[in-house]
C-alpha cells in the first residue's frame, strides 16, 4: 500500500512538473517594454517553487514508502533534531525567497503602477460597457471633449456621452472599437466604465487592470512588436462577459498616422 501511494504521488508530481518544464502550454510571446520583468519574475518563482514542489512530493512519497507498516524489528524513531530543523528550514528558505521576490517584484510592479506615464505618451480614453470596449482619440486639436453620462446613446453611437453641439473640443474626437497604437510609443489609457465592473487584459502585453465604475484609472504601456493582439474582459460583467473582446493593433508610426487620418475623415 505504501509503495502504491508513493508511486502514485511521484508519478503525479513528475508528470505535472514535466508540462511546466516543457512549456507545453505557455505564455504568448511578450510584446511590451515592461513585460520582460514580469516574465522574469514568473520564471524565477516557477523555478524556486518547482524545486520545492517536487522535493516536497517526493519526500512525502519516499517517507510513506520507507516507513509503512508495523515491522516489529524497526523501532519508532523521531526526525533527527525534532521540529527545530523544520522551523529553521521553512523560515530561512521561504523567508529568503519572500524577501528576494518581494524586492525584485516590487520593482516590476512599481515600473508599471507607481511610475507615472511618459509625459509624451499618446493618451487614449477607454470606455468599457456591457459587452464592448470603445477607444477615444483626441483628434487633430489634441483635446478630449467633456463626458456627459446622460448623453450616452448607443443608437447614435455616442458611446462616451459627448456633446459636439456645445463642446467644440468633442467635435473632432475619434472613437474606435479597436485599440490602434504606434509601435514603441508610450501609451496612456484612461479607463472609464459605463455600467458595471470590467477588466482590460492583454496577455501579450502582460497587462491587466479592472475598470471601476465611478473611477478613472490610468494604465500605461509601450508595445514593441507590430501585430494584432487580443484584449479580453476578465471581470464578470453579465451574460455577454465571454464575448467581451476587442483587438489591439500595433502599427508602424506611418501606418498609424494613415489610420488616424482615415478615421478623422469618416
Amino acid at each position: 500500500m505504501g509503495k502504491l501511494f508513493a508511486l502514485l504521488v511521484a508519478v503525479i508530481a513528475i508528470v505535472s512538473t514535466a508540462f511546466f518544464v516543457m512549456h507545453t502550454w505557455w505564455m504568448p510571446p511578450d510584446v511590451s517594454v515592461l513585460g520582460e520583468g514580469i516574465d522574469h519574475q514568473l520564471l524565477e518563482t516557477m523555478t524556486a517553487s518547482g524545486v520545492l514542489f517536487v522535493a516536497a512530493q517526493l519526500t512525502l512519497a519516499f517517507f510513506v514508502w520507507r516507513f509503512a507498516g508495523n515491522d516489529p524489528a524497526r523501532p519508532i524513531k523521531s526526525f533527527p533534531g525534532g521540529p527545530t530543523p523544520m522551523v529553521v528550514i521553512a523560515t530561512v528558505l521561504v523567508g529568503i525567497e519572500v524577501v528576494t521576490l518581494s524586492l525584485v517584484g516590487s520593482k516590476v510592479w512599481a515600473g508599471m503602477y507607481l511610475t507615472p506615464a511618459d509625459p509624451a505618451s499618446l493618451q487614449i480614453d477607454v470606455q468599457a460597457e456591457q459587452f464592448a470596449y470603445y477607444f477615444r482619440y483626441a483628434g487633430p486639436d489634441g483635446k478630449f471633449g467633456g463626458l456627459h453620462p446622460d448623453l450616452i446613446d448607443e443608437g447614435s453611437s455616442n458611446f462616451f456621452g459627448l456633446d459636439p453641439a456645445n463642446d467644440t473640443t468633442a467635435r473632432d474626437d475619434i472613437v474606435s472599437s479597436s485599440l490602434v497604437v504606434p509601435v514603441n510609443k508610450p501609451v496612456l489609457l484612461n479607463m472609464h466604465a459605463k455600467d458595471v465592473g470590467h477588466s482590460f487584459y492583454v496577455p501579450a502585453l502582460r497587462i491587466q487592470q479592472d475598470f471601476v465604475p465611478g473611477l478613472v484609472i490610468p494604465l500605461h504601456f509601450t508595445a514593441t512588436t507590430p501585430g494584432k493582439y487580443e484584449i479580453v474582459c476578465t471581470q464578470l460583467c453579465g451574460l455577454g462577459h465571454y464575448n467581451m473582446r476587442a483587438f489591439l493593433e500595433v502599427k508602424s508610426q506611418a501606418d498609424y498616422d494613415q489610420w488616424l487620418k482615415d478615421q478623422a475623415n469618416q
Binding site: M1, G2, L4, L8, S16, F19, F20, W25, M27, P28, G37, I38, Q41, L42, F53, Q57, L60, V64, F67, G69, N70, D71, R74, I76, G82, P83, M86, V87, A90, V94, E97, V98, L101, G105, S106, V108, M112, Y113, Q130, P149, D150, I152, K194, D195, V196, G197, S199, Y201, Q208, P213, G214, L215, T234, Q235, L236, G238, L239, H241, Y242, R245
Partner: protein, 591 residues
C-alpha cells in the same frame, strides 16, 4: 465562574436522558451530536447539488455545442434544445461557488464534525448554548432553501459569481438576466447564513473555553479541537463583517440606497438613479470576510489531518505546539491579506505591496506545518486506512495548491495570472480539494464512532486512489490553461480565442466526470455501511482522545453519568500502555 457552573448544571439537567418526542430527538434536537449529523447531512445534499452543477459547466466548457440530455426540460428558458445559454452557465457557476464555499466547505469540516466532536473531545456534555446550537443549524438550513429558491424565480438564478461584485450585483434588473429577485435571494441567503455561523462560532468558543473537563488544559486539547477553536474565532470576526455587507447589498437592490453604486452609470440605456457609493467598498468588505473564509474551510482540515495522522503513525507528531502555533499564526494573518484579491481592482497600487508581504509570509507557517507533517512520517509505523490515505493525500494536494499561491501573492505576477484558470486551479486545490480530503478522512475515521459501524475499507481505498488521480487530472491542467492566458468565468471561447486550449478543456471535463463518478463509491459506502457495516468497538483505531473513551455511539450526555478526568495530552503514541502502544488521555497510569 458561577455562570459556568450554572451552565454546566443546566446542560446536565437537559441531557440526563434523550428526549421522548420524535421532533425533539431528530429534528429540533438540542443534542450537539444530532446537530452535527444534521450539518453533515445538509453538506452532503449541498455537495451533490454543487457537483452536479460543476458537471454541467464542465460539459459545456469541453463541448460547447453538446446538447445535454434533460437540461432543456429542467431549464426551458436557459437551455433550449439542451445547449445552455451564457447566462445559464454563469448562474450555474455562481450557485456552484456559493453552495460549495458556504454550504459544504464551511458546514462539513467546521460546523458538522466540529459540532459532533468538539464537546466530546473536551469532555463536555454538550455545547455551552444548546438552543443557539439548534438555531444555528436551522438558520443555516433556511439560508440553503432561500439560496435554492433563486433557481426558480422568473429572472433566473444570480450570475454575478460567488463574489457578487457590485455594481453588477447591486443595480437590479437593468443589469441583465439573473439580476432580479435571484440576486436579492442570494444576498438574503448569505446574510441568514452568517447569523447561523455567528451563533455556531460563539458556541464553539464558549464551549472550548468554559466546558473543558477536569484536567483538560488548553495544552492537552487535541489538534482538531484547537483547529475548530481557532476557526471559530476567525468565523466570529469574518461573518460579522459579511452580514452587514450583505444587508447593505440587499438595501441597494430593494431600498434605493447607494452603498456600492456610484453616480453616472448608464445601464440598459438608463441613467441609474444612484449616487455616492463605491464598488470597491463591496470588494473590501467581501474579501475581508472572503480571505479568512479560505482558512475557515481549510484550518479544520489541518486539525483533522493532524489528529488522524497521529493515530496512524503510532508516534507523536513532530512539534505539536509549533503546529498549533502555525494554525494560530495563519488565522491571525488571514485578516491582513484580503487586499491580495484586489491587486488589480483599482485600489491604490501602493497597498498592493502592503498586502503582498503578509500574504507571502503566510507561506512560512504553512510550510512549517507541511514539513512537520512530512517529518512526522519519518521513523513511523504507518498504518494504511482510507482515513490515513486521505490525510496523506491532503498533504500532497495542500502542497500543490499552496505553491501556486506563491505566484498569485506577488502583484507583479498577478498582473498576468489574475482572472485566469491558474487562480481556479489554485483555490480548488487548496481550499476545495484539500478541505474535501480532510472531510473524507474525518468521515472514514469517525464514522464508526458516530454510527457504531465501520465503513468498507477496500472501497474507501479505491475511492482515495481514484479521487487523487481524478483531482490532479482536473486541477493541475488548469494551471497550464492559466499560464496560456485562458480567462475564467467564460461560458465559451468564441471565434479563435483560446481554441488551442480546447483539447485541454475536454481532458479536464473527462477528468471531472470521472472524479464525480468515483464519488459514487463513497455514497454507496456511506449508505451500505450505515446499515450493513461490521460493528465497531469503542476504540477501533487505538486512538488516545476522549471520543474513544466513551461508548460507540456515545450516550446522550456523551460519557454516561461520569465525567472523564484527563491526565495527559493527546500525543501519547509509541509508549507502553494498558491496551497497546498508546495511553489514552484518561489513563492515569504512568502519569
Amino acid at each position: 465562574m458561577t455562570h459556568v457552573r450554572e451552565t454546566k448544571a443546566k446542560i446536565a439537567e437537559l441531557k440526563r436522558e434523550a428526549p421522548a418526542s420524535f421532533l425533539r430527538r431528530y429534528v429540533f434536537s438540542l443534542d450537539h451530536k444530532v446537530i452535527g449529523k444534521q450539518y453533515l447531512g445538509l453538506a452532503l445534499v449541498a455537495v451533490t447539488v454543487g457537483m452536479i452543477l460543476s458537471w454541467l459547466m464542465r460539459l459545456h466548457l469541453g463541448y460547447p455545442k453538446l446538447a445535454i440530455p434533460g437540461l432543456s426540460t429542467l431549464y426551458p428558458s436557459g437551455a433550449a434544445g439542451g445547449v445552455m445559454t451564457p447566462e445559464l452557465y454563469l448562474s450555474l457557476m455562481t450557485m456552484h461557488g456559493t453552495i460549495m464555499v458556504f454550504f459544504v466547505l464551511t458546514t462539513a469540516p467546521f460546523a458538522g464534525f466540529g459540532n459532533y466532536f468538539l464537546p466530546i473531545q473536551v469532555g463536555a456534555e454538550d455545547m455551552a448554548f444548546p438552543r443557539f446550537n439548534m438555531m444555528s443549524f436551522w438558520v443555516t438550513f433556511v439560508a440553503f432553501l432561500v439560496l435554492l429558491a433563486a433557481f426558480f424565480v422568473p429572472e433566473g438564478a444570480p450570475l454575478s459569481g460567488w463574489t457578487a461584485y457590485a455594481p453588477l450585483s447591486a443595480v437590479g434588473k437593468d443589469a441583465g438576466p439573473g439580476q432580479g429577485l435571484g440576486q436579492t435571494l442570494w444576498g438574503l441567503s448569505i446574510a441568514i447564513f452568517c447569523i447561523g455561523q455567528l451563533l455556531g462560532s460563539l458556541n464553539f468558543i464558549a464551549t472550548t473555553l468554559d466546558l473543558r473537563t477536569k484536567g483538560m488544559t488548553l495544552g492537552r486539547m487535541p489538534y482538531s479541537t484547537w483547529a475548530w477553536f481557532i476557526t471559530s474565532v476567525i468565523g466570529l470576526i469574518a461573518f460579522a463583517v459579511l452580514l452587514p455587507a450583505c444587508i447593505l447589498l440587499v438595501l441597494d437592490r430593494v431600498a434605493g440606497t447607494s452603498f456600492f453604486i456610484p453616480a453616472g452609470l448608464v445601464i440598459s440605456d438608463r441613467l441609474q438613479p444612484h449616487a455616492g457609493g463605491s464598488p470597491l467598498l463591496w470588494q473590501h468588505l467581501f474579501w475581508f470576510f472572503g480571505h479568512p473564509e479560505v482558512y475557515i474551510a481549510i484550518l479544520p482540515g489541518f486539525g483533522i489531518v493532524s489528529h488522524i495522522l497521529a493515530a496512524h503513525i503510532r508516534k507523536p507528531l513532530l512539534g505539536p505546539r509549533v503546529l498549533i502555533g502555525c494554525m494560530a499564526a495563519i488565522g491571525f494573518l488571514s485578516y491582513v491579506v484580503w487586499g491580495h484579491h484586489m491587486f488589480l481592482s483599482g485600489m491604490n497600487p501602493f497597498s498592493a505591496m502592503l498586502f503582498s508581504v503578509p500574504t507571502l509570509i503566510i507561506t512560512i507557517p504553512a510550510t512549517i506545518a507541511t514539513l512537520l507533517w512530512i517529518g512526522s512520517l519519518y521513523g513511523a509505523k504507518l498504518r494504511f486506512t482510507a482515513a490515513s490515505l486521505f490525510c496523506l493525500g491532503f498533504i500532497s494536494v495542500f502542497v500543490s495548491g499552496g505553491i501556486s499561491g506563491f505566484f498569485l501573492a506577488q502583484p507583479s505576477i498577478d498582473i498576468y495570472l489574475h482572472g485566469t484558470y491558474f487562480v481556479v486551479g489554485h483555490f480548488h486545490f487548496v481550499m476545495g480539494v484539500a478541505a474535501m480530503f480532510g472531510i473524507f478522512a474525518a468521515t472514514y475515521f469517525w464514522f464508526p464512532k458516530m454510527f457504531g459501524r465501520f465503513m468498507n475499507e477496500t472501497l474507501g481505498k479505491w475511492h482515495f486512489a481514484l479521487t487523487l488521480i481524478g483531482v490532479y487530472g482536473i486541477f493541475m491542467p488548469m494551471h497550464y490553461l492559466g499560464l496560456a492566458g485562458n480567462v475564467r468565468r467564460y461560458s465559451a471561447f468564441t471565434d479563435d480565442y483560446m481554441q488551442s486550449a480546447q483539447p485541454l478543456h475536454q481532458f479536464i471535463t473527462i477528468a471531472a466526470l470521472f472524479t464525480g463518478a468515483v464519488q459514487l463509491l463513497f455514497f454507496i459506502n456511506l449508505i451500505w455501511s450505515r446499515f450493513r457495516g461490521p460493528a465497531a468497538p469503542d476504540n477501533p483505531w487505538e486512538a488516545t482522545t476522549l471520543e474513544w473513551t466513551t461508548t460507540t455511539p456515545p450516550p446522550p450526555n456523551n460519557f454516561g453519568d461520569t465525567h472523564p478526568i484527563v491526565y495527559r495530552g493527546p500525543d501519547e503514541y509509541g509508549v507502553k500502555g494498558p491496551n497497546g502502544d498508546y495511553l489514552m488521555q484518561t489513563d492515569p497510569a504512568g502519569a
